[in-house]
Amino acid sequence: MDVAEQIASGLAGTGEVDGSQFLTFFLAGEEYGVDILRVQEIKGWNAVTPIPNTPDYIRGVINLRGTIVPIVDLRRRFGLEPMEYGPMTVVIVLKVMREDKGRVMGIVVDAVSDVYNVQDESLKPAPDFGSVVNVDFVQGLATVDETMVIILDIDHLLNSGELAVMDSAIEHE
């Protein structure tokens, strides 16, 4: 991790030690961020193999150099209006931690944006919307150049929460 961190900060060229770096992407006009150390690669949208009897936000699986990787459409996952996939549509391949095991998953987003340095203290917790919106998977809110970036807790988003949602979704059908 140390080496990766050094490389990551070296690439950004800012030399700032404290704080974390986030890869941001657009989804329905909002900018979201994920911890850059979890990003394995970014690739264009290609056809997937759908998996039967799974919710529609699980688009299917792809072959990532011999590994079977599931792809989640983040728009559908958040209940947003689905969008036609175009040339800007990208798949961000993430390493998701669950307990001690790491899993590789891909998320489909509208477009990638930028890499930001965010000081830990400038990361604000998301306000509680009560039962209106579930903000469990929001790690915090960061402000970069006067715009808000929603930092996602991908472990929470793509893990137990997802599986739980998925199972109950099947039951409710």
């Binding site: 056809a47 759908p50 998996i51 299917g60 792809i62 590994t67 059908e173």
Partner: protein, 687 residues
């Protein structure tokens, strides 16, 4: 020196466990009263390596214990002691102890020292008894406590120059010597060359060692055993006159060996019973470490190197061809590609064969187990094994071990009757348990048969009714009734014994086998015994698949599950209550599963006669899967969906097709289950 001993430690433990296996199998073959020199040598060598290794790695418990075993073996080897059944049993218990201690050393947990001490006491008793009787002969140097003045040895030790190259360490030799008593060593520097001429790997020194103390000649010989032939060695006693006495074996020993085993026998017996109980746990703890490495025959590796060489040649040939390609060279290109295909296929076969081990690895433990169980249950059983050389994937082998143990145990405990009952039934006193393995198609079949009483159909049925698994009076076939055996907690044994009867096991057996993609069948004839047949895929990594198309998607159906494929004859389709479709195939009615329905896909056509019906069998049930088209048959590499995702109903895994896309492998048992329980859900998902 900062050499990482941990990596060697693992190797040492692995080798020691192998040594123990050798000891065990030789011991089981050994007959009391006749000590075959080669057999004893084999055991001795194994014990000696374990002792030496454990001392090097600082497992003093193991080395001390093994030392006693080794001393006893040495006496047998020298003909001073006769091999008795008790001695064999004691050695077998020692093998268990050492195995436990090794497991303890490996996992870093504390082992049951009490048991070890018990067995060791038995060994010591046996050893001690021989010495007592040796006293009249007055020969053993150990007995000369009253004349300490003459105890001591003069050793002249001149290593040959290349002794060190064989991995021997002079320092260790001396350390062992020093452990025996007071030692004085004078080094002879004469052979030492000038520094510029010195070869660092050559031994140039020699020593004159004087060892004071009550030490036996054998002990010193033992220290130098490994360097025997690599050095000039002369060992003379300080007193100078008892050499001859040491070399002559004591006459009284053969008779004396008998009283000791009698003492030792109870220990061995107790040990055995506790051993049975713990066998399961121990195997589990060993299982985790077992898959870390694999031993491969050098011929297999050589074959691989050859193949890779050919692959490189083909590749460079194709490369050259591509440099300046023109259409007239297309024939050569085709040849090259054909060559490449052949190389790739052979390489694949060879790599797979590396993972294959003869099933004797799994069978090896049974002679011991049956031997022990026979003693305990007072039965006479002959264990026959055939097809031990049948090869099986290592992963499958590791997982099939426990189910096999259960089945063999059941055969011994429930299957074979006690001798009196057998005689009454007009059978020979000795029962037979037969383990057989052979290949059939892409499967390996393992049969466990016994010539015992057979399964009691009525009792199983009664028990099933009692447990509410079925209604009495049903016309159940034998196969259906015997299938109840695999229900959790199902046992017809009247008495719950140490060995079996708790009803745990058979359901686990079935579950493990099913998890491996295999199946288990039971056949039984009253009075003539029963046969359990396990059918397993040869490997878990590759599968022969039939590619089928449903709508735009390609699925893979394992070829082993397919019985036949046919075009649908509309007149043979019947629908019960308008939805549950049945297809009349000869005399059977098969449920029709529309794959697009089960998987929620859009098919080419929903008309039955436009598609093809693939008749499959899974979990003992047949069904017809409706697909749009049959594509190619090919071998596919199985990839897990669970690594990055989770288990999906009706899907056993995924694979990557030639064009790089992912195709899902249909789990036949799962899809039949799915269509039976969840057809409503699938329908709503499709709608």
């Amino acid at each position: 020196m900062s050499i990482d001993m941990e990596q060697f430690k693992a190797t040492f433990i692995e080798e020691s466990l192998e040594g123990l296996d050798i000891m065990e199998s030789v011991l089981l073959e050994m007959q009391p009263g006749e000590a075959d020199a080669e057999e004893v040598d084999n055991i001795f060598r194994a014990a000696h390596s374990i002792k030496g290794g454990s001392a090097t790695f600082g497992f003093s418990d193991i080395s001390n214990f093994t030392h006693v075993v080794e001393t006893l073996l040495d006496q047998i080897r020298a003909g001073e002691r006769e091999v008795t059944q008790e001695a064999i049993n004691l050695f077998l218990s020692s093998v268990d102890c050492i195995r436990d201690m090794l497991a303890g050393a490996q996992e870093g947990f504390d082992i049951n020292l009490e048991q070890v001490a018990e067995v060791k006491a038995g060994l010591d008793r046996m050893l001690g008894s021989a010495l007592e009787t040796a006293v009249p002969a007055g020969a053993e140097p150990e007995d000369q406590d009253d004349t300490p003045a003459v105890t001591g040895w003069k050793i002249i030790f001149k290593p040959f120059p290349d002794m060190l190259r064989s991995g021997n360490d002079v320092v260790r030799l001396f350390r062992e010597l020093a452990g025996m008593g007071e030692m004085e060593a004078v080094v002879d520097l004469e052979g030492l060359p000038a520094l510029v001429d010195m070869e660092p790997e050559e031994a140039c020194l020699s020593w004159e060692v004087t060892l004071f103390g009550n030490v036996g000649r054998e002990q010193i010989d033992e220290v130098f055993e490994w360097v025997d032939g690599d050095c000039e060695l002369s060992i003379t006693p300080l007193g100078g006159d008892e050499t001859s006495a040491v070399d002559t074996p004591a006459e009284g020993v053969p008779e004396a060996a008998n009283p000791a085993p009698v003492q030792a026998a109870p220990v061995a017996q107790e040990r055995r019973s506790s051993n049975d109980r713990r066998q399961g746990d121990r195997r589990k703890s060993r299982g985790s470490s077992e898959n870390s490495s694999i031993r491969v025959g050098i011929d297999k590796v050589d074959a691989l190197i050859n193949l890779v060489g050919e692959l490189v040649i083909t590749q460079s040939m194709l490369g050259q061809l591509g440099e300046d390609f023109s259409m007239d060279k297309v024939e050569r290109l085709k040849d090259g590609l054909a060559e490449l295909e052949r190389n790739t296929r052979e390489l694949q076969e060879n790599v797979m064969s590396i993972r294959m081990l003869p099933i004797s690895f799994a069978f090896n433990r049974f002679p011991r187990m049956v031997h022990d169980l026979c003693g305990k249950l007072e039965k006479k059983i002959e264990l026959k094994m055939s097809g031990e050389q049948t090869e099986l994937d290592k992963t499958v082998m590791e997982k099939i071990g426990d189910p096999l143990v259960h089945l063999v145990r059941n055969a011994v405990d429930h299957g074979i009757e006690i001798p009196e009952v057998r005689l009454k039934a007009g059978k020979s006193e000795t029962g037979t348990v037969h383990l057989n393995a052979y290949h059939q198609g892409g499967n390996i079949l393992i049969e466990i048969s016994d010539d015992g009483a057979g399964l009691n159909r009525e009792r199983i049925l009664a028990k099933a009714v009692e447990r509410g698994l079925t209604n009495s009076g049903d016309n159940l076939s034998d196969a259906e009734i015997f299938d109840f055996l695999f229900q959790p907690g199902f046992s017809t044994a009247d008495v719950v014994s140490d060995v079996s009867g708790r009803g745990v096991g058979m359901d686990v057996v079935k579950r493990n086998i099913t998890a491996l993609g295999g199946a288990i069948d039971v056949e039984s004839r009253p009075g003539n015994g029963s046969t359990f047949t396990i059918r397993l895929p040869l490997t878990l990594a590759i599968l022969d698949g039939q590619l089928v198309r449903v709508g735009e998607q390609t699925f893979i159906i394992p070829l082993v599950s397919i019985i036949e494929s046919l075009q649908v004859e509309p007149s043979r389709v019947n629908a019960i209550a308008g939805s549950a479709e049945l297809y009349k195939l000869r005399d059977d009615y098969l449920p029709v599963i529309r794959l697009y329905d089960a998987f929620g896909l859009k098919p080419d056509s929903t008309n039955l006669e436009d598609g093809l019906l693939v008749v499959v069998e899974g979990h003992g049930q047949q069904a017809g899967l409706l697909v749009d088209d049959l594509l190619a048959q090919q071998q596919v590499v199985i990839k897990s969906l669970e690594t990055n995702f989770r288990k999906v109903g009706g899907i056993s895994g995924a694979t990557i097709l030639g064009d790089g896309t992912v195709a899902l492998i249909v789990d036949i048992g799962g899809i039949i289950e799915l269509s039976r329980n969840g057809s409503k859900r699938a329908n709503s998902a499709a709608a």
